[in-house]
């Protein structure tokens, strides 16, 4: 069960890759798909490993991603 979640606002992303590179647990990868502006946004490849540390959120220059920690009551869910 993941300890945290990450939310990606695909349309805001400019594909810099900071979030992918600096996620401590390698949760993310740049997807091969394009957003409407032609950038490759990240997607979750290892959702289980997300700690919700929000480092991706702090790095993102475009405010396109953020993570949060699961509460005890929260069960596993997909990171969307």
């Amino acid at each position: 069960m993941a300890k945290g979640f990450v939310c990606i606002q695909v349309e805001r992303c400019k594909g810099c890759g900071f979030c992918v590179e600096f996620c401590p647990t390698r949760v993310l990868a740049l997807s091969s798909a394009f957003n409407s502006k032609g950038y490759h946004p990240p997607h979750v490849v290892n959702g289980e490993k997300c700690s919700g540390c929000d480092l991706c959120g702090i790095y993102c220059p475009d405010f396109a991603i953020f993570g949060w920690k699961a509460r005890a009551s929260e069960g596993a869910a997909h990171a969307g």
Partner: protein, 289 residues
């Protein structure tokens, strides 16, 4: 049992940003957005009242920061953010006044204002985004451009010595001086929180990629490669003598908090002097008639 996921509805930084102005103008991988992200998080952490905080920017890519922050914000003229902020702060001392601008704006055209504000110890919190170049105007030489980087106005490479910003700022009298890079997001955020709690003239230099103009022209790779360079070559040395923290092109980067000292700020000195001299006749420095 149904799993309940309490998704925060929005990115925590959104209340501090003018979301109606997004997307911002900065290029993919531009570090300015990362610094703004850290700034917004520092506001959250420090529980600063956004209604009592004003951000003043000069002109440049970094100068656009003021316009994206959801606080009272002033996009002034090139180089003059500090004197504008000085007037604003003195008129309303209860405001937390942050100056957010580029290295050219603050240290070239605005350099004289910066050293005098530091000398007077005006209570201003300065964030200087150093991308080693004049970005807004297309990549000309800045006072921070390291030898022998090329710029559009130094096509054969720069041969001017660059300013060491922390050294200059400390010498002029600042009470708090630190340097981080956009790689050091947590440290930068903490440093901003700390600076917001200080009184007097404070400055944080943040090295930041300008992939479009500086890195590309100098074949230094993209923004991500720059971030990796920051990660690999930065050495944290709190309290390092600022005379030793000068930067070279792609060399080691000393980061950390270099100066943290206290001395009376401008208003305090003014009040004390006038009260001493005028006694009961002193009517105070409040300007709201």
């Amino acid at each position: 049992m149904t799993a309940v996921v309490e998704t925060p509805v929005i990115n925590p930084v959104e209340p501090f940003l003018r979301m109606d102005r997004m997307p911002h103008i900065w290029c993919p991988g531009c570090g300015i957005g990362t610094t703004v992200n850290c700034f917004a998080r520092a506001l959250i952490e420090s529980k600063a009242d956004p209604e009592k905080l004003a951000v003043v920017s000069g002109i440049g890519c970094t100068g656009r920061v003021a316009g994206y922050l959801h606080v009272d914000s002033f996009h002034t003229t090139h180089g003059r953010a500090i004197p504008f902020a000085t007037g604003l702060k003195l008129a309303n001392p209860s405001l937390q006044v942050v100056v957010y601008s580029g290295d050219g704006d603050l240290f070239a055209i605005g350099g004289n204002h910066l050293i005098h504000a530091a000398r007077r110890n005006i209570d201003l919190k300065v964030i200087c985004v150093n991308n080693f170049i004049y970005a807004m105007t297309g990549g000309q030489t800045a006072p921070t451009t390291p030898e022998p980087a090329t710029t559009t106005t130094a096509p054969y490479g720069s041969y001017e010595p660059a300013f060491n910003l922390p050294y200059l700022t400390e010498s002029a009298g600042a009470t708090y001086v630190a340097r981080w890079t956009t790689y050091h997001v947590r440290q930068l955020t903490r440093s901003i929180v700390e600076m917001l709690q200080k009184k007097g003239f404070c400055l944080i230099e943040v090295l930041s990629p300008c992939p479009t103009l500086y890195q590309r022209r100098n074949r230094l790779g993209d923004a991500l490669e720059t971030m990796k360079y920051y990660k690999e070559r930065s050495k944290t040395r709190h309290g390092a003598p600022t005379s030793e923290v000068g930067l070279t092109m792609q060399g080691d980067i000393v980061v950390g908090k270099f100066v943290d000292r206290d001395r009376p700020d401008y208003l305090e000195s003014m009040r004390r002097r006038l009260a001493e001299q005028l006694g009961d006749k002193f009517a105070g420095v409040g300007v709201l008639a």
